[in-house]
């Protein structure tokens, strides 16, 4: 019977998928045996050190690396499928190739994520046995779900990769369905993992003695959904940034113009995804912050106005750097777009605006300053910026920076095109008015914020954000028909971009990674000396809040380690390409 036969490609797909299943099975078995072996072999203790090395730092480093790889493998499939859908709808093969290029990076990254996850689990059992025992007992059903999801994710992800060329043409829809399934399983995995983390921050569903009273309440704790959404967006932004860095590496190592053009385009798409997902991230962050405050004023104040307040200045510096770098990349990219020289005149004013915004945002606020800090600043406010260092000015600055970056991208998009529709002039004026109106709303509320109490002021950020989002939506809604049938001045000269633009992409990837490490530290650190905030105390020697300098050194170490591991992923992907080319 012809249809009962299996083609060699289908057999290969099945074999590849099974390899993934076998790998994860062996890893889980090894983890279980090692963890159980250590449990029975090591002398009883609540906490243990790792051969004299700090248990907290060991768990921190591995957990953060695991999280970064997990973010990458969960983020990349989201935009890989979207790119594949675009390719399928437009019938442009280059989109399908790009989506495949994205997905190619995943196989090795999955393995590294799983290995790091297994090491982390062993460390938990070995170094924090008592607390790990408590958490595993409390959340036993979720662990079972998690393991099922891991297998589901591995199967669909490997099938998605191995069936890429097996399901062309009319069967493409089945391949797209696999891609969607990868994302559904991946998102479910993320949501389950977030249960444990968020429970530790904002426990619910337990009594005063820590006994479980309601599993669903423990799962659906106050910070669970805000972190789910925040991480989902951050994963896309992070995945985009790493993919852009991969494009940059391949661009710098390219041997032909064709290869340079291909990876220039990949870097551009990656950075576009990173910045696109990055823009709504602060809003998800506001939601998370609000939930933290509602759960515990004390925790919220520690985060924003207490021990961790200075780290937000570092965050502002990083995000300011990200805005500047992404704009710099776009402006350099305009050099390869015929006709884009028309917009060069906007670059200097935009840079000034971004720089001012950066300075305002990175200025310390008075409210968190101690006596020593205030004397270091020369008063309760910054000696030069004065009242521009408060939240009213910061919110205004960041919204204007978002608007400027958006405008930069829109100019880039329009670089080589001249609208030909009859209403082009009206359309462009309307777009300018929309941007101006949003700027006025942002500035107006920024100034008004100085005259109202803080509880009213915090509500103004919603109006400012809404104005910016609305302006962006209206601008794009006009832009799409405006550029329909537009006259093209010339084709984009992909590949003809200076090497320094690729370093801007590396800067984006490094800064995103460092930022993720820093934010992870703040999120975890605000529990201070609690394993589970207010319920289960950390009684180990490491239950103190370290200095910011020490913490930032660890974050830097993690970032370097991550990129060393990522370079293995890049090297493997490149090697496979060369192998295929040789064959």
């Amino acid at each position: 019977m012809a249809n009962s036969s299996v083609t060699p490609s289908a057999r290969l797909a099945l074999r590849g998928t099974y390899k993934g299943v076998m790998k994860i099975s062996l890893m889980l078995a090894a983890t279980y045996l090692i963890a159980q072996g250590l449990t029975s072999y090591l002398p009883a203790a609540d906490y243990r050190s790792l051969f004299g090395f700090s248990n907290r730092t060991a768990v921190w480093v591995i957990a953060e690396l695991h999280l970064m790889f997990a973010a990458f493998v969960l983020g990349v499939p989201i935009f890989a499928v979207i790119t594949e859908v675009i390719g399928s709808v437009t019938n442009e093969k280059r989109y399908d190739d790009l989506a495949k290029e994205f997905t190619k990076l995943l196989a090795m990254a999955y393995t590294l994520t799983a290995i790091l996850g297994c090491v982390l689990l062993v460390l938990f059992f070995a170094l924090y046995p008592k607390f790990t025992g408590y958490m595993t007992k409390l959340f036993k059903p979720t662990w079972l779900v998690y393991i099922v999801l891991i297998f589901g994710e591995v199967i669909v992800a490997y099938l998605y990769w191995y069936t890429w060329d097996l399901l062309p043409g009319t069967r493409k829809k089945w391949h797209l369905l696999l891609g969607v399934l990868v994302n559904i399983w991946g998102t479910a995995l993320l949501f389950v993992a977030d249960i444990w983390v968020t429970f530790m921050m904002s426990p619910a569903g337990i009594d005063d003695a820590g006994n479980l009273t309601n599993l669903w309440a423990a799962i659906n704790n106050p910070t669970w959904m805000p972190i789910n959404i925040h991480r989902l967006l951050a994963n896309v932004a992070f995945g985009g940034a790493i993919v852009a860095a991969y494009g940059a590496v391949r661009f710098l190592n390219a041997k032909s113009d064709e290869e340079r053009a291909r990876f220039d385009w990949m870097g551009y798409v990656g950075s576009f995804i990173a910045i696109g997902a990055f823009i709504p991230l602060p809003f998800a962050g506001y939601w998370l912050g609000r939930e933290i405050y509602q759960f515990s004023q004390q925790m919220g104040v520690s985060m924003m106005g207490g021990s961790f307040a200075w780290l937000w200045i570092l965050q502002a510096m990083l995000i300011g750097g990200l805005f500047l770098a992404s704009n710099f990349y776009l402006w350099l990219g305009m050099g390869r777009i015929p006709g884009a020289e028309r917009y060069v005149k906007f670059q200097v004013p935009m840079m000034i605006l971004l720089t001012i915004g950066f300075i305002v945002w990175a200025t310390p606020r008075s409210i968190m300053a101690t006596g020593t800090e205030m004397s270091a600043m020369g008063g309760s406010h910054h000696p030069f910026l004065g009242l521009f260092g408060v939240m009213a000015a910061k919110n205004t600055a960041v919204n204007l920076m978002i608007l400027t970056t958006f405008f930069s991208f829109m100019l880039y998009r329009r670089g080589n095109r001249v609208p030909t529709v009859s209403w082009a002039a009206v359309g462009k004026i309307t777009q300018a008015l929309v941007i101006a109106a949003a700027s006025c709303v942002v500035l107006g509320y920024g100034i008004y914020s100085y005259y109202v109490p803080s509880n009213i002021r915090i509500g103004f950020s919603i109006y400012q954000v809404s104005a910016v989002l609305a302006a962006m939506a209206v601008f794009v809604a006009i832009d799409i028909p405006l550029l329909k049938g537009a006259r093209e001045i010339g084709a984009i000269r992909w590949g003809q971009i200076p090497a320094r633009a690729q370093y801007a992409l590396f800067f984006l990837a490094i800064s995103f990674t460092w930022l993720m490490g820093l934010m992870g530290y703040i999120r975890s650190g605000i529990r201070q000396y609690w394993h589970v905030y207010g319920r289960v105390m950390d009684e180990s020697n490491n239950a103190y809040t370290m200095t910011h300098g020490h913490a930032t050194l660890i974050v830097s170490g993690i970032t370097i380690l991550f990129f060393l591991l990522v370079s293995i992923v890049f090297w493997m992907a490149t090697r496979n390409d060369h192998k295929a080319a040789t064959e």
Binding site: S5, Y32, G305, G549
Partner: protein, 297 residues
Amino acid sequence: MKTTFFKIFAFLLLTVSIYSYVGQLVPQFEEYPPAKQNITVSTSPTDLANIGEEIVRVKGGCLICHKVTESGNVRGPDLRQAAGKAATRKEGMGAEAYLLESITQPDVFLVPGYPKMMPSALKPPANLNLAEVKAVIAYLQTLGGIEVTVKIEASDIAAAKAAGPVHKGKGAMGTYGCVGCHKVEGEGGEVGPELTKVGATRTPEELLQKIVNPAAWTTAGYQPGIMPVEIGKSIPEGDRHEIVAYLMGLSGKTYSPTGAESPWSHEGVRLGLVILVFNIIMLAALAIANRRTKGAA
């Protein structure tokens, strides 16, 4: 390719070095968990006030919103005036009673001009006991230049809370009825021997054995065979270890209930079997696919 790698790596080092350097520029400080305070009925007013000051600064987290010096936070009222104004805040309520209420039930009365935002000090994350709350009142009285009038009662100390599930042996002894026959820390029956200091003469292993097998040994002066076999066996393994940890702790010895779990838990083995079966099914599918491919060829 190698040159590119080194260039990129140098760029990575430069970027993270800048970030690390800025991290060194911001104010540097470490924050430690609150020290365990030993408050007794005979703690002197001065010591009590000193302990209270430590609680206000660290465990209570009070200074996140209040101030005790000119430059502190102003989200809540100035604590320097708290004791002085306490007697005038609520009509018919004494200063000490008002301070106690404002710390343990802060929402009952709000000082005009301040929002409802303070959690009860008896609840997490401060999680103070009454003795600690009274120490805070002693500090507030000292801070306001008033004589310390607050007194510690024995019941205030008895209300001290455990840190959480890490130390739940005491509760488990109540749950499983052990204290029905045994006296521990002054409470419980007298059918069996007092267990408060049993850890001084017995090892954790002996105690664990005794719980599941009461015939293993019997304390001199007590009749064997009284302790029911079923009770001990009905106590989950983890809780048996918690009870032993608690009893050893009463004799000043540490015993960690960790490592007590069976190394071959049923769930783990069962899950492993399911994964194994799944692997076998996939291998079988692969073998069938191989055969059909060969057949087609």
